[in-house]
């Protein structure tokens, strides 16, 4: 482009004319008759929903974006294991929605969505009036399959916590650890795949051991697992051997690890058709999971309880103009993580904006990095870069993988520092 043309362009744009023209032209193309903004409703202000709402407004400031979240503040699951280890307080993992409103012009409504009507493009709220949308994004996270472990339901979780939705459950588990006697046994029951945060139960075992080693060194942590292998297994086990020798025991599913029932009064977990009983002083049951309740209610789930979506746009394959991101969605090879949900929120925002203006959507790209802390200065990661392959989200071959084994202490320490840096960045990218 020569200088003259460029100068003219700049004069044009200085007056804001070009932005207006391209938007108007695009709006005319979509036949919306000059209506300045469409209304996008986002349900769930967690990592997926908050990020999507923010990036929708970044990509197109003429959009009206309403974020509906039932809780007044967001308490992150990431770093909630660090709270259990005593590395952070709850205040450090609690985030407000103020910046999404003040900086990005998102309307945040604190209410519970009770129904979705995809035909009428309308959602119903528990307290407020129904809201109409042009596009709906759902990021309601997970819910638990109560009673999949016999006797474990919501009421029981008030005494035997899951602590897999951060908040009062995290505080309850921490208090139980604090109250436990030295020489006590902590049992963690880990679910089968797929579930939220594949390394989560094992980072939790590490953080609990970190606390116990300092305050109750005669105690033990037993992980009863449904699975025969788990995320970053080699690295976790190497770290446990180094940091907490003899303190953490892991029982594979095929070796009797699968928990089938709970005896609440006896503080006992039952495995192997009732043949073996494990008594704990503190018990943490992480139950099997499914897409968030409202996704089930709205007919967005398959028979396994998760939401099938177009792998490029995250539009539901079951309901038009409804998009599902985050833990609820089936996103190919991506794990159910806050990092994944954050990336999916951005991709979905791009898909919605380009579709509104009838513009081409660039090839999708995603990243996931899961940091886990084994102690205050021992961090490990698993990472992957994702692209679309054969119409599904797949890891780019040759990229990603886990931290090196037998790495020097300095490497582990660096990753521990970056774990904190990751947390600050991703929460800022999602909520501020």
């Amino acid at each position: 482009m020569n200088t003259l043309t460029r100068r003219r362009f700049m004069q044009w744009m200085g007056s804001g004319a070009l932005t207006a023209i391209s938007t108007r032209a695009a709006l005319a193309q979509t036949g919306s008759g000059g209506k300045s903004g469409k209304h996008i409703v986002v349900v769930g202000g967690g990592f997926g929903g908050a990020t999507c709402a923010k990036y929708l407004r970044r990509y197109d400031s003429t959009l009206e974006v309403t974020l509906i979240e039932k809780k007044p503040e967001f308490i992150t699951c990431p770093a909630s294991n660090w709270v259990l280890g005593g590395l952070r307080g709850m205040d450090k993992i609690t985030h407000s929605y103020d910046k999404l409103q003040s900086r990005y012009g998102i309307k945040v409504v604190h209410d519970k969505v009770t129904a979705v009507d995809p035909a009428a493009r309308k959602i119903t709220l528990k307290d407020g009036a129904p809201i109409e949308y042009d596009r709906l994004v759902m990021s309601p996270g997970i819910d638990f399959q109560w009673n999949a472990i016999e006797g474990y339901d919501k009421a029981v979780s008030e005494t035997i916590p899951h602590a897999y939705k951060a908040g009062p459950q995290t505080v309850l588990l921490r208090k139980q650890l604090e109250a436990m006697k030295d020489g006590g046994t902590v049992i963690i029951s880990a679910p089968g795949n797929p579930f939220r945060c594949p390394p989560g139960p094992y980072e939790r075992a590490s953080m609990i051991a970190y606390y116990l080693k300092q305050h109750k060194p005669k105690s033990k942590v037993i992980i009863l697992d449904t699975k025969d292998k788990f995320s970053k297994q080699g690295l976790f086990m190497e770290g446990w051997e180094k940091l907490y020798p003899g303190m953490i025991e892991w029982v594979a599913g095929s070796e009797g690890g699968k928990v089938e029932g709970v005896d609440v009064k006896g503080m006992t977990l039952v495995t192997q058709s009732g043949l073996v009983k494990h008594k704990g002083d503190v018990i943490n049951i992480i139950p099997p999971q499914k897409a968030g309740w409202i996704a089930q209610e709205s007919g967005l789930t398959n028979d396994q309880g998760w939401c099938p979506v177009n792998q490029k746009t995250f539009e539901s394959t079951l309901h038009k103009d409804v998009y599902v991101i985050g833990d609820s969605s089936i996103a190919g090879a991506m794990p159910k993580s806050g990092h994944s949900a954050n990336n999916q929120g951005k991709m979905c925002a791009a898909a919605i904006v380009t579709s509104l203006y009838d513009l081409p959507l660039p090839e999708p790209s995603h990243v996931n990095t899961c940091y886990s802390l084994l102690s205050d200065d021992y961090g490990i990661t698993v990472a992957a870069v994702y692209h679309l392959k054969d119409d599904t989200i797949a890891g780019v071959e040759g990229a990603g993988g886990v931290s090196p084994s037998d790495a020097p202490a300095m490497t582990r320490k660096r990753e521990a520092v970056y774990a904190g840096g990751w947390y600050d960045s991703i929460t800022a990218d999602s909520f501020g």
């Binding site: 482009m1 070009l18 207006a20 990509y59 904006v353 090839e363 970056y418």
Partner: protein
């Protein structure tokens, strides 16, 4: 601030990249937005992650390529950089370097 946004919009127009009222929705933008999860929105890190904001494109390209080849030591960026073609590395660097 205005100036760079204008330049990037001009580039976008020249390249036929969709521009709507707000930021561009280009392949570079999509790729670079995945960096923001660890490095902060627009590459401005609020904590212990290195910021990647305001870095010239050439040095971003060189750094990413050195991570990719293993020339530059890393904790995790070597594993990430291997996920991108040289073209994609240029697209990421171009987009990031133009953010103001």
């Amino acid at each position: 601030m205005r100036k760079s946004l204008l330049f990037s919009m001009i580039t976008m127009l020249a390249a036929g990249i969709p521009a709507v009222a707000g930021a561009e929705v280009s392949r570079g933008a999509i790729l670079a937005s995945t960096c923001f999860s660890c490095h902060g929105t627009d590459g401005k890190s609020p904590g212990d992650m290195p910021s990647i904001y305001g870095v010239p494109a050439e040095s971003l390209v060189k750094t990413l390529q050195d991570f990719k080849s293993g020339m530059r030591p890393a904790t995790v960026m070597d594993r990430h950089a291997k996920g991108y073609s040289d073209d994609e590395i240029h697209e990421i660097a171009d987009y990031l370097s133009k953010i103001k």
